[in-house]
């Protein structure tokens, strides 16, 4: 095959791999002829959206596919054919020569055994060593993966570790027998961004120390840019582009790769820059297209694209950058410059219409589309929802002798939601973002403070009034599949709010549901289908349509795009911005993904352990962050640019428990600037330290003076 390997010896080589799942008379083509290889000591990133076959490819290499999978092609590890091996021989390869880390460390660890026992088990499965020696070795491994005090921690159970520490344990287990190849299947997807940065650094360090090869499977181009030597891009079961990391990010040739890079919200792009949308979705996995798998979604497709399958060919003879595209010659010529105008208009996330009013220094966007440029918000828009010192405490689990300490999920938050604007709420998991949203919607009883809708306070109202108010605020959930009753048709899902509130007859409700589907750019006919028959992006549109059914003023979106693929994310973000402009909605968007927030929000609130630590206009918070926590978060976000790999050390540690928040500033334990005697005793108030920019930090001014702003972030304003 033409895809050339680098000079180093090929360690693992996959050639023309095809995997088909046969189920109930239907064939699902998961991998349709994939070629890739990894050399000793290098990191290969396999990138693709869900359904691209990236994980299946790796599971095939490990012989871990279910019985109904039909595998053909060749997978060679140091010249030995893995597909020809029997189960016993494969077992000796797994673990001993190939180690694996999975996405969710909790479900991969046995909760009833100590971690050292599980690591020792892995060692003893492949090597004939004594119990004592295996235990000693597992303590050593735990130390190597950065578990503090490994000797004591070795005898702890998985649930006693935090998510990031658990993933470290998984890595220790994968390393137990000194594998030559480490396969990491989305190892950081379930982790917070600060912890992700720690894990990325850790895997990279181990790879260098041990000289092993790493295959990092990911959908996150940012992470990939930070650690990969070479990148393989998969789409619908085929490799569409492959090459050295820098080449791929600087000069992506395949229209899919290029589109993916432009569709992804990124922190280093100018604020308010357009997000490109890749229309459509993955091809039906049951069909076997003759030609290029991407042709139906491709702007550059012409006749041969649908007729013949493009081979993965190097751009320059003997070069490492290979592309499977009939038009690679023409496309590579224009690389580096923006591609020629697309057939469909490039869509612009309409957030640049309302600039953050308190950031006059920010450069206006080059060209705002006329439809999305109302008055540039000279005065502060009216406040729709006001949270005042809101507290939500959950009763803790105590024993019968001792009253439990409450879980302080939200602990004194004052926040305004302005009319027609978007407030982004960011923070790590456990910071109380979702609880805040639920309290705003009246789904959670506040333990203190108030939620007021246009001056009317939520708790002081009768049940009927409360129900009435609830209609003015609606919610869009993270996982659209889970937020709809699978037994209802789409039109019933969308019409449910009308039904609950007895608005109109059944026929009128149905008609309104059809209208709403059109508002979110879905065909009316979809109403007759069931949610599981839709794609993820379509389902999230349905969820938004349902949220709009009662003409709310406020739409709360809890991680609205984090369950979606990058190309679909852009579609949803664009839709939300458009709806806001047309309907004058106030959006509260909760996300752990800072790039998404930066694309969509006007104002940003950063939450840490139940408190707001920083609040301000988007450009202030992202461009001139004043709180060390905000800085740490921003530094931890991987930038999809392989030339900017050096970044400050990631924030250490995990967020403390909200049951017993640290005294003083809640962040002081993780803060590099914390000053004893001040930060650990006196909680900093949230003050307007700059006009329109609120920060809860005693030392913000000193920190700002002492450290020059990071050019990466300064450029964003």
């Amino acid at each position: 095959m033409a895809a050339s390997a680098p000079a180093g010896a090929e360690l693992l080589a996959i050639r023309d791999l095809r995997v088909t799942f046969r189920a109930a008379g239907r064939d699902v083509h998961a991998v349709r002829g994939a070629d890739l290889s990894v050399a000793e000591g290098e990191t290969l990133a396999v990138v693709g959206e869900s359904g691209s076959g990236k994980s299946v490819t790796m599971m095939a290499a490990l012989g871990l596919l279910p019985e109904n999978a039909e595998v053909s092609g060749s997978i060679r590890l140091r010249g030995r054919e893995l597909l020809a091996m029997d189960e016993r021989a494969l077992r000796s390869v797994r673990g001993a020569e190939i180690g694996v880390i999975f996405q969710d460390p909790m479900s991969s660890l046995n909760p009833v055994h100590t971690v050292s026992r599980q690591i020792a088990e892995a060692i003893r499965a492949h090597a004939d060593v004594s119990r004592g020696a295996a235990h000693a070795r597992s303590v050593e491994l735990l130390g190597e993966v950065g578990i503090p005090d490994p000797r004591t921690r070795a005898d702890d159970y998985p649930h006693q570790f935090s998510g990031g520490m658990r993933q470290r344990v998984m890595i220790a287990m994968a390393l137990a027998c000194g594998p030559r190849v480490l396969v990491a299947d989305e190892p950081t997807t379930a982790l917070d961004v600060t912890v992700q940065a720690q894990i990325v650094d850790l895997v990279d360090r181990i790879r260098r120390d041990r000289g092993m090869a790493v295959i990092w499977i990911s959908h996150d181009l940012g992470v990939v840019a930070q650690l990969a030597d070479r990148v393989t891009v998969m789409y619908a079961g085929r490799v569409v582009e492959q090459g050295p990391c820098a080449d791929l990010f600087d000069a992506a040739v395949h229209p899919y790769t290029a589109g993916l890079l432009r569709a992804m919200p990124r922190l280093d792009a100018p604020a308010g820059s357009p997000l490109e949308v890749i229309p459509g979705s993955l091809p039906d996995p049951e069909t076997q297209p003759e030609g290029c798998v991407f042709a139906p979604r491709c702007d550059h497709a012409h006749d041969p694209c649908a007729a013949a399958r493009p081979a993965l060919l190097p751009l320059a003879a003997g070069g490492g950058h290979a592309v499977a595209c009939h038009r690679s010659g023409e496309l590579s010529a224009v690389v580096g410059r923006p591609l020629p105008a697309r057939v469909g208009p490039t869509l612009r996330a309409g957030t640049d219409n309302v600039r953050s009013h308190d950031a006059p220094a920010a450069a206006p966007p080059a060209a705002a589309p006329p439809a999305a440029a109302p008055a540039p918000a000279a005065a502060t828009p009216p406040v729709v929802v006001a949270l005042e010192e809101l507290r939500v405490h959950y009763r803790g689990r105590g024993s019968w002798r001792r009253a439990a300490a409450p879980v302080r999920a939200v602990d004194g938050v004052t926040l305004d939601l302005e009319h027609g604007r978007t407030l982004g709420l960011v923070g790590e998991s456990g910071s109380g973002k979702s609880t805040l949203a639920r309290a705003l919607l009246g789904l959670e009883q506040p333990s203190g403070g108030t939620v007021a809708f246009g001056g009317r306070v939520l708790d002081s109202m009768s049940a009927a009034g409360l129900r009435d108010l609830r209609r003015t605020a609606q919610m869009v959930f993270q996982d659209p599949a889970a937020s709809m009753n699978p037994a209802l048709r789409v039109e019933d899902v969308v019409g449910e709010p009308l039904r609950i509130n007895r608005r109109g007859s059944a026929a009128e409700q149905r008609a309104r549901a059809a209208e709403l589907l059109e508002v979110v750019e879905l065909p009316r006919e979809l109403g007759r289908r069931y949610p599981h028959q839709l794609s993820g992006g379509q389902r999230q549109r349905v969820a938004i349509a349902r949220g709009l059914a009662l003409d709310p003023q406020v739409l709360v979106c809890d991680e609205p795009v984090s369950a979606l693929d990058v190309s679909v994310q852009a579609q949803i973000i664009t839709l939300l911005s458009r709806l806001q402009a047309e309907l004058g909605l106030s959006l509260l968007v909760i996300s752990h993904d800072l790039a998404v927030i930066r694309t969509i929000a006007h104002r940003v609130a950063v939450m840490y352990l139940g408190r707001i630590v920083e609040l301000g206009g988007r450009d202030d918070v992202f461009g001139r962050p004043r709180h060390p926590y905000t800085r740490g978060l921003l530094d931890a976000v991987p930038v999809p640019d392989p030339h900017r790999r050096s970044r400050p050390a990631p924030l250490a540690g995990d967020p403390p428990s909200p049951v017993a928040p640290p005294p003083g500033c809640r962040f002081h334990e993780r803060c590099a600037f914390a000053r004893p005697g001040l930060c650990d005793t006196t909680p900093p108030p949230l003050e307007e330290q700059r006009p329109g920019h609120w920060t809860a930090c005693h030392l913000a001014d000193e920190i700002a003076a002492s450290s020059a702003p990071d050019p990466a972030h300064a450029a964003t304003g």
Binding site: F21, P285, A482, E496, G537
Partner: protein
């Protein structure tokens, strides 16, 4: 903007379905067992409905010599007063099935209501579930006897006693299902749209627990038939309604267990009790494998 109208094709079955082969084998095997159970139950119901047609004699009439062994006239012989045992078996099917089904239905009703409340309203549920625990730890047989003695011997009382004893497991199963449903996003979504408890329970929770309740009902019928037989065997059943259990009671009282008569007096009712309990149990098992989310392939 209109170009974003995603004419995305629905992505077929979402991804590959793993362990399909094993899944199918399991399903084949449960389907076969379920079919056996279904045939048994259907046959028994047919016998109960057609009892007057099928039975050669009126079970209450003295049709022959007392204690006669099986003969062409009396295929299973006669009892101590000369009543035809075969006819008694056929009519007994009516009593056993009626008591079993009615008691199980009542138990399902109680169990479902308690389970729904217990799962949906956590505070109230905590109290309700302690009640369930109490019922679960009660020693069955002594309570059965005390209740039967206290309430008197009638078929209605038998049904009540049995229902009181067997609703608790149903309540637990239903509650666990409701608990898992109550946390779902779509229920939170409905609440955020202003839906009341009644709406949520009726529209989103009940439909998903109904199937489970039916499975539980079939399984409970099996237990109810066994309990009815025990009660009648102890002489605490309705004296006017001859069931399989009471046939055994009389066989025991007349010493048939120690004479060759056990072959036609003791064995047939015993086998019938076993068969009917087995039929419902198999049917219930197959239904449960299909319905219960916890047992469905993970």
């Amino acid at each position: 903007m209109t170009t974003t109208v995603s004419t995305e094709p629905a992505p077929g079955p979402a991804g590959p379905a793993p362990v399909v082969r094993r899944g199918r084998r399991l399903r084949d095997h449960t389907t076969a067992l379920g079919a056996v159970g279904g045939v048994i139950v259907l046959a028994l119901v047919t016998v109960a409905v057609l009892a007057p047609v099928l039975a050669p004699y009126d079970p209450a009439e003295r049709a022959g010599t007392p204690f006669s062994p099986p003969s062409p006239d009396h295929l299973l012989g006669t009892n101590d007063v000369g009543q035809d045992l075969l006819s008694e078996m056929i009519y007994g099917t009516r009593v056993s099935l009626t008591v079993g089904i009615v008691a199980a239905a009542a138990a399902m009703l109680i169990g479902t209501v308690v389970g729904l409340i217990g799962g949906y309203f956590p505070r109230l549920g905590a109290v309700a579930m302690r009640g369930v625990d109490v019922v679960l730890i009660l020693p069955f047989l002594p309570l059965l006897i005390v209740l039967a003695a206290y309430l008197g011997r009638s078929i209605v009382n038998t049904v009540i006693i049995i229902a009181i004893l067997i609703w608790a497991p149903t309540a637990r199963v239903i509650r666990s299902q409701v608990l898992s449903l109550a946390g779902r996003d779509y229920i939170v979504a409905a609440r955020s749209m202003g839906a009341g408890h009644a709406y949520v329970l009726w529209r989103h929770v009940l439909p998903k627990t109904m199937l489970l309740a039916i499975g539980e009902f079939v399984a409970a019928a099996s237990g109810a038939i066994l309990l009815e037989s025990s009660l009648s065997f102890l002489g605490l059943g309705d004296p006017l309604q001859e069931s399989w259990g009471s046939t055994l009671y009389w066989a025991q009282a007349r010493g048939a267990f120690l004479t060759p008569a056990w072959k036609w007096w003791v064995l047939p009712p015993g086998l019938l009790i076993m068969l009917s309990a087995l039929g419902f149990a198999l049917l219930g098992y197959a239904l449960e494998q299909r319905i219960n989310p916890r047992l469905r392939r993970s």
